[in-house]
């Protein structure tokens, strides 16, 4: 609430806003975001590795699934991350918290496009009593321009006995290009397959909004289940 009040002061009382911004340092805002994102369900990092000293938070909300991810990039090729996931199935719940390493395995920078391949490996704990050791492995590959985006990702979790895996493919189009200070809108289609949750792939249609350092998506699948995603980079 303090931060909210400070931001509103910008237009009403600029001097008060300047004082407030001095008090609300970058690190304070960072921890506020961390605390708030921790209560939100589901999110998925679009960039598991960002830039040197960059910090990324991602959260996805679905009625029966939660994914919260954060990552600190020590370089443009490696990031240390924390992941929390929960998936509710008919007869069981999969949940776990992980510490993971995200590696940029390959990147191709072209004049107007970028292609990436990421690998993610993590260890953690989960289960109803948070006492079961878990392992996490994932990959993500994507290709994007300023108006086209496609990505394919896969994730697997194991407790040494059972394995849960999922794969997702996305494709998106932006009707126009936008600068950093302009809002860019996207239309995104997503197909997810999680055999432990549904016998058939799940198709979702999403609207993506991208403005400066914030990305958020809203939409739903063909069964009417909502999808909300928020991503912030620092």
């Amino acid at each position: 609430m303090i931060l909210d009040t400070l931001f509103l002061l910008k237009d009403v009382y600029p001097h008060g806003y300047a004082l407030g911004m001095n008090l609300a340092s970058r690190h304070l805002r960072l921890w506020v975001v961390v605390c708030l994102l921790s209560v939100l369900p589901t999110v998925a990092l679009s960039h598991p590795v960002t830039f040197e000293d960059g910090i990324a938070f991602s959260s996805v909300f679905r009625p029966n699934a939660v994914l919260v991810e954060s990552a600190y990039s020590t370089s443009a090729r490696f990031a240390l991350g924390l992941t929390y996931m929960r998936q509710e199935m008919d007869d069981e719940r999969l949940q776990g918290g992980f510490v993971n390493g995200n590696v940029l395995l390959y990147r191709r920078n072209a004049a107007a496009s970028q292609a990436n391949l990421y690998g993610i490996v993590g260890v953690g704990t989960g289960g109803d009593k948070w006492s079961d050791p878990l392992g996490l492995a994932a990959f993500q590959t994507d290709f994007e321009t300023s108006r086209f985006y496609t990505a394919w990702m896969g994730r697997a979790v194991t407790d040494g006995t059972s394995r849960w895996w999922q794969t997702t493919y996305r494709i998106g189009f932006a009707p126009y290009e936008a600068e950093f200070n302009e809002l860019q809108s996207w239309l995104v289609s997503q197909v997810s397959y999680m055999p432990h949750m549904a016998s058939t792939p799940n198709v979702s249609m999403l609207l993506r909004f991208f403005y400066r350092t914030v990305l958020w998506e809203i939409g739903g699948d063909l069964h009417g289940r909502p999808w909300i995603q928020l991503m912030v980079h620092y």
Binding site: L3, D4, F7, K10, R29, V32, V33, L36, L37, V39, L40, P41, S46, H47, V49, T50, F51, E52, D53, G54, F61, S75, A76, L104, R107, N109, A110, A111, A112, S113, Q114, E144, T145, S146, E177, A178, E179, F180, N181, Q184, F210, Y211, R212, T213, V214, L215, W216, I228, L230, V232, H233
Partner: protein, 124 residues
Amino acid sequence: MNVKRLCFGFLFLITGLTAWAHAEPKPADADVVLHVKGMVCSFCVQGVEKKLLEIDSVRKAVVKLKGRTVYLWLHANKDVKDKTLTDAIESAGYNIASIERRALAAPPTPVVPPTSGTSSSKGS
């Protein structure tokens, strides 16, 4: 659930309000112009700008995403090496295609007052 919605709305407000627009200087008088490969989204711009502003001699950086171009203004009497710029862009995860520098203006010619036939010297 109500608490979660409230927190989500609050977070939405904070993250949205953190994105302030600001007046941009004219690119035409930039000291250095970089053409960068791989910049395709706002997150890319953020990383490039942050790493360039960490260079001491860089006073201001403006990234134009549509043109894949970065305009830099340097502090007075300061310069920056091509390698420093290349390292900064690569630490952000991108590659430089080319670097252009604005030709420095010739130092102003001192104005010599016309001689009047007499001379004077400063007293000791």
